[in-house]
Symmetry: C2
Subunit: 207 residues, 2 copies
């Protein structure tokens, strides 16, 4: 897995650091955080566990960097304050599409969000905040898009929308061929009276 592009004249230290985070991402994705050892990460990145600990002070630090690196990629698609309600929903559907092409990333969040429900988990506050922020962006979007029929409130719709995505990911990981996550999410939006993009966006096909 090459998770991030490498600059042309990248210093060796930076390069190793990136390799370590790529390996940590892949292994945490497969087995969660607690089941993966520093030695596992090191072996995958082609060095010893002491080598890893030269770049990161401890195991937890690698997790934090894995998570924040992901956020740098997704944040503009969700957190941009200039995003209109329909654009935000479009972007979230687009992320579902992309997830279908990145099972390791889906597995990372499925495994970690479950582990992190434990308040003692190092990523607990990260996930607590992640859900809060996502909700804070979804609620006004749903408030704008939902016709006020007898459906759910924007707050409830936001929770349902997020829950649906999370739950679909588990079923999709268990049997990728049997689940069309995008269709399921789009169907839910349509049931709410929101018309989402009907076909996968072509400009995202080759990412």
């Amino acid at each position: 897995m090459t998770d991030t592009e490498s600059p042309r004249h990248e210093p060796k230290g930076e390069r190793t650091r990136r390799r370590i985070l790529d390996s940590a991402t892949e292994l945490f994705s497969r087995s969660g955080y607690r089941a993966v050892s520093l030695r596992d990460i090191a072996a995958h990145a082609g060095l010893t566990h002491s080598g890893v600990l030269h770049h990161f002070p401890n195991k937890e630090s690698t997790l934090i960097h894995v998570l924040s690196r992901r956020d740098e990629i997704d944040a503009p698609l969700v957190l941009d304050p200039d995003l209109g309600p329909a654009e935000l929903i479009d972007n979230l559907v687009r992320i579902v599409e992309r997830n279908t092409r990145t099972p390791w990333l889906v597995s990372l969040y499925v495994n970690l969000s479950a582990e992190a429900t434990d308040p003692a988990h190092p990523a607990h506050t990260y996930f607590y905040g992640r859900y809060r922020i996502l909700r804070e962006h979804l609620v006004p979007a749903f408030a704008a898009l939902l016709e006020d029929r007898a459906g759910p409130s924007p707050e409830l719709a936001a929770r349902q929308f997020i829950a649906l995505q999370d739950g679909l990911q588990v079923q999709w990981l268990l049997d990728p061929g049997a689940v069309d996550m995008r269709a399921a999410v789009v169907s839910f939006l349509r049931t709410l009276g929101i018309t989402p993009p009907s076909a996968p966006s072509t400009d995202e096909r080759h990412v």
Copy 2:
């Protein structure tokens, strides 16, 4: 946590066995399977890890027994072939209600279902089969209850229904006071045109 009732003249071996499974359930619920050790389970049950291994051949065996014990309790609410479509949905909503009173049980399934997406996990086939069976019972129920408007197919509705429940559990575990799982599930059913029980059933309140 006393998870099962104890018969009056229960032999000591059976009693210890039950205590071990109660402890395993509670600890697996809190931290998942892989993060819990036999010594953790043993200490919680008041014996040594060798004592545990007298009653169960290995760690994995405790997990299998924890899972199958839960199924003995829930199966009649879901798998009874004499159940009508509306009754099945009612029972599933009732299970959501009960889950609100048993966070450790919710945590068990959230943690294990995430871990078990890994095909190498000892509970992988268990969860694969569990989702399949649940779907096989939900699809005909939705087929009977869904008016054939432009909504999801019974197959898709079943997946969405299960996904919604799973995803809500994560958000609920992260912030129990902020999430009303029952209301969210009932709202989803109503959006599909299905009228579920409007209030928590009184005969389940004191279980």
